[in-house]
Symmetry: D2
Subunit: 334 residues, 4 copies
């Protein structure tokens, strides 16, 4: 039985708490959040305790692993302390908005020799993961081109955007990880050239906050594979999460998930459901499967699908995109 | 906190056990099965006890409700005893292969004034239920015609078929309930005329066992609404579960659920996943939602979506279909 | 160069005229219609002449073939006279509303030894014909079950319905031919049992005219294959023309044709075009291909895909359906 | 009656010849091709004459219009001579591989005051054109982002590639025109910034010929609208021609056209037809509609949907893409 402490009782923390509580062989022992009431409300029905303090968590020798679902700004500190305390670590993306601090986390984890997984849940989505497995099986031959469409139903509050690190670090971080997973995931290739541009088209307030809401990114790998990512903070029809990979022998296209399979035909047209509107619903199964994976690999001492190095690498691409947008020039990556 | 006893630790019993164990406000207290080892293996990880005997279950005043997932032949007896013991009842379909015994169950339940729900899980499937809600909203006007396609991936063992009561009672019982739910669900209409035919096309052994494997049933209601049901014990491409309802203002078509939304295009063609192959997977969410519904309605003293009367009514249609097949003539229903 | 005379300058006559005029090796020489102005307007731009009289057409030795697109009531007489005059015959469905007269036509054609093709255009639809070819190739093994959905966008005027011969002869005649083509097309099987029911649901005036507008027909073949046909005079979403055939190794499903492949996603939902609304548009290519086939087979002295015997056989099924509806009993066919 | 001369009896010339011959009010009078036999074979069945010489065509006062379907290298000369001879001009894309010569053609046409249309057939494709009309109607609000997927089933012979002007001028010229039509078609916007990259992934021989086979292009307009174009010379599953435009109120996605609407489900999966494999088949209707448009607008003295200026503008974008690929830097357009 693995005893686990959870940091963060917010939106994403609650998701992890429910999934952890339902895992056989895992006990959600402690929940820590500065907002003690939130922690208490979450802990009670799940039979967990509220952690008296951060120190108490790291001092508790009976805690085997920590799940970090607190604000991004706290990640690197908690990873460092968990590594020092020899706890296995599951940390929500991103590792940190700063590549330097993210790299420091990677060093701390490596130094302490603790297991650390980053929560890029898309790699655990049944549809995306099925595509990756077919790619590995060679069903479409050698991958050549990846087109990622990634659109939110609507923009977050401008206050959030102001401290988000910008659209590349906040939103495209997932897409950069998908690019690496699909086009360079075989370990034989790497991003070599990146060009990013974008605009503020959905809400001037986003521009006034110094960010953009619509982006177009292109990445070329050392072997010449190509990736195009198009993103928007607003898709009136819902949460649009698709990618297509062209291979030497065919195409794999990942479509959206819909709430139901009802088709309705009237004089107004033939319509199907829009995509799942909310990311916690769209990736509900992925959030469950990633913690299952975390404890399975922990149990068997096997590597995670998404390591802290993956977290660093995605951050490097986000920085490159931000620089390309700023300078109007492509960035060469080594 | 409702304390629940489960009868049956088989395939379907295990599904219910897992769902019950995860329900807030519900405690899976006892599991009863003649195969004590199966009951023990199921109970242990879920923190439930193995019931020493049937009598012990019904004698236990702390048990509020029973979930009956044991073989069909045991349903009517268990319903009767549970009613006598004043336990709320959730019973898997069918109530009983005999309409008379099913009606006796209905009387027993009514007499004892206990709540009784029959597990027609299709009414809780997200896709089918969404269609019903749109129908209620009037999205396609007045329902006129229903076409049900219901095909299993493959036939069960002939030994099972021999004691199944025949394809109409064993397999179409669900489709008869869907017909009632969709075409007469508003309570303003009823089946008036039924014609059934069929053949043995997939396996001669099924014919030798006195059954058929392919059927075509037509039902006309008092108001003239029409329903056609086509079923087969074998669909090489998986578990095919669809229906389409034509209304005065349009069509609602319920499609199959697929394991993933990956589309793969190669020189061999453009293909999507086949339907979920296994009924426990296809209706996984429906099985969860029906027990949620059971305890919610129980809590609020509201009626169930699927009553014991619904169970009887579906059985009556199954008998009519069997008679129509035997005589080669339509059956008039009052 | 084959010289052709066309009977009928109405809606369907105009379609055939345009297709004939564009056929290499075919000269549309004469057009005959009691409404001489209609004939003249159609003939002029196509470089055809208006036939002075029916007699003149049959007396003209330079005419090799006739295309009969005049009202149903004139078909049998024109077939008889064309046979007597040794002209090759293309006649629109149906041969005649009376099976007896249709059989007389078959005898006349056989006696004269002239080629005669009936215009069941659905057998030439690219989608339906592709399905038939895959069936012949054995792509889904042995055919077992056929489900035909056949719905018009709206009912014709009641005056038309009054003299239409009823929905089975007027509308389902096509579906009966599709049944024969798909389930018994290999010549190894035949319809053995038919049960039909129906209602008047879309417009009481249709009922007052002695007809119905919604039907459900079931046919079982000698070998036990099953067919269900559901039809309605009204589909608010357009002209719904689909069939699905289940085989021992899989399913072939023929979907509707749409005007465009645009998918539009907005807050209101994700929608595609409704089916082609008008039968002349839906079957535009089929109408072209059937006359191409007529002259190709004529040229090579090969049999037609749809003979006058097929026309008679479809009429027999239509009569059986009408009788089954009248008596409320199934009909056994020899 | 407009009398027309056709230059070119090759693959595309034959398409135009057939469409011209079927147009009411149009007479295909002359066909000119250095390969006189090809011209003769094409002319004979269509009742056209073979032009004795180019001079004879331009000297023939009875010729109202010319259709230029000869090799690209001949376009500018023929446009110039047709303009001088005061013939209306329909010219296949591209105007010329050199922007300078294309601009000279535009000047010649303007100077002579003759009507000149360039054959960008995609603007006449029923699906693409339907999307444009919905955009004009405001069905998805303001256009923000365009993603074009444009892939050939296979690469042309390397000899062809060597003199093609490169993939941007030869293949993407259509996509650059689609970009202008969809994102700047309202005349209120223009391309401001373009970045192109690419690789040789499908066949080293293409690289040795100095070209690439896989490209990723991004264009930003003055108002900040974004366009991404991904192309490949090889798609194992057929001719992939799609685009998606995101607007402030929704999405318009143009899918591929398929030969039939048959869905086949077997143990191997559920598959639909691959896209039309050959461009002449995919755009068959578009080729017909563009010449219909040419003569309609000519008749009514209204402007063409695709002018010689559109041809020049697409060429400018192709040059910019070639330069961006060469320098590895984005290109700013005025």
């Amino acid at each position: 039985m693995k005893r686990v402490a959870l940091f963060g009782a917010g939106r994403i923390g609650r998701i992890h708490a429910t999934n952890l509580a339902a895992l056989p062989g895992v006990q959600l022992a402690l929940i820590s959040d500065p907002m003690v009431d939130a922690a208490r409300q979450l802990a009670a029905p799940l039979g967990a305790q509220v952690a008296p303090s951060l120190d108490a968590v790291f001092a508790d020798a009976s805690i085997d692993a920590v799940v970090i679902a607190s604000p991004t700004t706290t990640h690197s500190d908690l990873i460092g302390r968990a590594a020092a305390a020899r706890k296995a670590i599951f940390c929500e993306k991103p590792v940190d908005l700063s590549v330097e601090r993210a790299q420091a986390c990677a060093r701390a984890v490596a130094g302490a020799g603790v297991a650390c997984m980053i929560g890029f849940q898309r790699r655990f989505d049944p549809t995306f993961n099925e595509a990756r497995q077919r790619l590995d099986r060679g069903d479409i031959g050698e991958p050549e081109m990846l087109v990622i469409t990634s659109r939110d139903p609507g923009a977050p509050p401008v206050d959030y955007i102001r401290q988000s690190g910008g659209i590349f670090r906040d939103m495209l971080i997932h897409d950069f990880d998908v690019f690496r997973w699909i086009l360079t995931g075989d370990g034989n290739d790497e991003a070599a050239w990146l060009s990013a541009t974008g605009s503020c088209l959905t809400d001037p307030a986003i521009g006034e906050a110094g960010d953009i809401d619509s982006t177009a990114v292109t990445i070329r790998t050392r072997s010449g594979r190509l990736c195009q990512i198009n993103t928007s903070r607003r898709a009136a029809y819902g949460y649009d999460q698709r990618f297509e990979v062209l291979g030497s022998k065919g195409l794999l296209a990942c479509g959206n998930h819909r709430p139901s399979e009802v088709t309705q035909a009237t004089a107004a047209g033939t319509r199907v459901d829009n995509p799942e509107h909310f990311f916690l619903q769209r990736y509900r199964e992925a959030y469950r499967l990633e913690v299952v994976h975390f404890f399975e690999q922990l149990q068997n001492g096997r590597p995670f699908r998404t390591t802290v190095q993956d977290g660093v690498a995605a951050q490097v691409l986000a920085d490159a995109a931000a620089e390309s947008l700023r300078t109007g020039q492509p960035v060469t990556l080594q």
